[in-house]
Structure formats: structure tokens, C-alpha cells
Amino acid sequence: MAIQQDNEVTKVVDHLFRHESGKMVAVLTRVFGFANIEQAEDIVQDTIIRALETWKFGKVPDNPQAWLYRTAKNKAIDLIRHQKVKHKIESELAPLLKSEYTLVPSMNEMFRENEIKDSQLRMMFACCHPAINTESQLTLMLKTLCGLSTREIGNAFLSSEDTIQKRLYRTKEKIKEGHISLDYPGADNMPARVDTVLKALYLLFNEGYNSSHPEKLIRDDLCEEALRLTLLLTENPKTNLPQTNALLALMCYQASRFGARLDDKGFMVLLKDQDRTHWNKFLIERGNNYLNLSADGNRIHEYHLEAAIASVHANAKSYEETNWSMILQLYNNLLDRTNNPMVAINRCIILGEVEGYNKAIEELEKIKGLNGNCYYNTSLGEMYLKAGDKNNGIKLFQNALELTSSNAEIELIRRKINLCK
């Protein structure tokens, strides 16, 4: 009998299936070529099913990762040997896969750690090709690199599974038709292509960080995936650019506050009221480290400024002891580069701490066209409240209430209204 009385059940590391799925899809798509991505996905799905069926009886192998790779590899080799690959293999490996002499060794090679990372990076570039719109870039990354199902992606973006499926189909077709290869961009194109990938990862992180999605778990997952992929970019000299480190620093700082952002009931706690002892010191140190590494070259990227702002917050002992004038300077700089109205609002809030709340109100009211924006109304309301003008404060918070459907935000605004009474 296989199961001994004293058998200790090994706990499989969190997200093992999900993370390894993403890796295996990247590797096998590179092996088969993008035209055969569905076959790569099928092999991986079958591999995970087999793992589930075998391991659920309590016998998790000593090295689960190696088990998964071996199973997927054998399935792929079988498919190639019996020429069951749907479209012709057009990857750079095609000649090696055709000969029995080199088939198995080449497959083994592709499942080495370095090659896996390499395949993930190539996949990232393909997913974030400039010809693909941002929404589709994120969807395809979550599916192929992060191992999320269409249902989970739909859930994360609050769209139906059907919508996600159609979007994925169209995106894959576009890549196939456009003959977007899984090759690295040339050296000339590299910085621009890296920027596109970073932008997608930045948005993915924000989708998790700022979204009002009712399930906390999903938001954390998106942030974690964005962080993981950005980290991967720093591990390869081709993609380890100053802006990559700046973005990673920003993500580390933001993620360091995960433990303090929500109260026991799951409601948002504003920066000012957060218990700083719950900030993750390890992540703040990582953030400081990546921010240092990002100070290279002669180009200042927006991520540098955003990371620097987050760094001042993260390293401040208390809200009161925050170096507001430093943050204001960084915001001024950031606003010069972007026309982002959210940046403009945030700058005004900081201005309130430096030059007084009336000044902030004055500047906020100069921003036009945002009266229908919830965040604008709460920010202005907050400044009025701080300036002691409760009547105007209450008016703005009530406006804001009409502009959101998020329970967390509604609760937060209700609390503010109570403060105004």
C-alpha cells in the first residue's frame, strides 16, 4: 500500500499550479510557435489535471515542479513524434525538434530555469506588442503568463467570461495573422518595447491596487502577478533598464501597505489613518533598493517620480512627519510630464499639506471638467472639511455618493459625511 500511516501530507506551495502553468505555456508556445498556442495550453491543462488526479491521494512528489515539467515535456515530445501538431512548427527550434537525435535534449534544455525565464520574457513582448490594445494585452498576459482562467480574468475585470473568451480569441488571431514572433525585439527597439510592457504591468498592478473589486483576493492576485513579471524583467540584462527598476520600486512600496489598507470589516483605511507598524518593512527595503538601482542613465521616467513619491511616504515615520514639500516638488515635476487629471488632484491634496487647505481648494477648483468624477469630489470635499467648511464638504461628499457604486467607497464617503455633521 502506498499510503503509510505516518505519511505527512506535503502542502503544495501556494499558486504552484497557477505559476507553473504560466511558465509551461510560455515554454511550449515557444517550442511550437505561437500558431500552436492552443495546443500548448491543452498540454498544460492535461498536465495539471493529471497532477491533481495523482497527487490528491496524498502522494505529492518531492519535487512537484520537476514532476509537472517532466509530464508536460513528455506530452509535447509525444505530440511532435506523432506529428500531431496542428500547424507547422515554425519556431527557431523546428530543425532540432525534427530529429530524434536532438528532440529530447532540446526539450530538456527548454525546461531549464534560464530558458523558462527567457520564454516568459518573449511571451511578455508578444502579449504587449504595440499593435495590440492595452485591454487585450492585459487579458492575454493573465491567461498565458499568469495561468488565470477566462472566468477568473472576467471576474477580475468585472466582465463576462464570454467577453474575455472573445477578446482572447481576437488577440491570438491578431498575433498569428500579424506574424508576431516570440523573438526579442532588436536592440534599437528594445527600450520602446520594454516601455510598452512596463505600461501594461503598471496598469495591471493598478487594476489590482485601485480597483473597487469586492473581492480582496482577486485584487491582491493581480498586484502579485504584476510584481512577479516586473521582477522577471529585472533579471535579464536586456530588459533590466532604469525604468524597470523604478516601476518595481513603486510596486514594492505600494504593496508594502496591503496589510494596512483595509480594516477588519474590509473597508478602506486612508493613508493618514493607517497603522504604519503593519506596513511590510521587507517590501519597503526592497523598494528602496530598486529605487537606488533605478538611478542610472540620464532619462527620468514617470515611474522614477511616482516611485520617489511612494518612497517618501513609505519611509516617513508618521503622517505628520512626512516631507510634504519634497512630495510636492515631485508632483510638480510629474504634472509637467503628464496631463493626467488624477495627478493634478493628488498634487492639490499635497499642496494642502504644504501651503494650507484653502490654497488646495483654490487650485482644485481651477481643474475643469471633473465635476462628474467621484475622486475629484471626495478630494475637494476633504479639503473643505480640513479647512473647517463643513457645509461645502458635505455637499461634495454627497455629490460623490452619487458617482460610485463601490461599497467600500460608499462606506468611506458616509463616514466622511458623518464627520461633517
Binding site: 499510503i3 497557477r18 497532477a51 491533481l52 488526479e53
Partner: protein, 113 residues
């Protein structure tokens, strides 16, 4: 204590579309259940089974290739269990995670020699 066999049938019909995360969570539940059976002294052993196989039948010893049944009826594995009586064995089987995914547990007493 008497011996019983659990035969697991079907379950996870949606495994072709289930996400890796969902499958891992399901596996975790199995592992926890198995651990509990072991801790409580009910577990004697068992193995998962491949859906494929061969069947040999008749005096002519005809060999047919599997799988032999509808997905829902395929035996995916078995456990040998210690329990006080059939009711107790059935009660323990209620904790099996396969029931959450449309599967069944068949409880069969081992006939003593």
C-alpha cells in the same frame, strides 16, 4: 473495526476549463481529508487509477482497451478504510471532496474470509 473499500467515481467534469488555482485548491482539500483519515486511524491505504487500461474477458481471453465506462462512472481511485460499521464508513465518506464536484463515493464492505 471492519474494513471497507471506497471507490471514487466521476467528479471534476469541468476539469478541461477549470483554472489551475481551482484545481490546486481542490487537491488541497483531498490532501487535508486524507490527512484526517490517517490521523483518525481510518486509513489503510489506496491508490489513484488511470482511466485507461485493458480488459480481458471470456474463455477466449479477448483483450479490449479502456476506458470502459462513461466519465461519470470511471473509477478514479480506491481507498481501504477502517471503520466501526458500514454506517460509520459512509459517514466518513461524506467528508470526501469529490462530492463537491459532482463525483460519487461507493462504500463497499470487505467480505471477511
Amino acid at each position: 473495526m471492519e474494513k471497507f473499500v471506497y471507490l471514487f467515481k466521476g467528479g471534476m467534469d469541468n476539469s478541461q476549463t477549470a483554472s489551475p488555482e481551482v484545481m490546486q485548491a481542490h487537491m488541497q482539500k483531498w490532501n487535508e481529508w486524507m490527512q484526517k483519515l490517517t490521523k483518525d486511524g481510518n486509513m489503510l491505504g489506496g491508490e489513484p487509477l488511470h482511466p485507461e487500461g485493458k480488459r480481458i474477458s471470456g474463455t477466449k481471453k479477448v483483450v479490449t482497451d479502456g476506458p470502459f465506462a462513461e466519465t461519470k462512472e470511471v473509477v478514479g481511485g480506491y481507498l481501504l478504510i477502517n471503520a466501526n460499521d458500514l454506517n460509520h464508513a459512509a459517514e466518513i465518506a461524506k467528508g470526501c471532496p469529490i462530492l463537491e464536484v459532482d463525483g460519487q463515493v461507493e462504500v463497499r464492505p470487505v467480505r471477511p474470509m
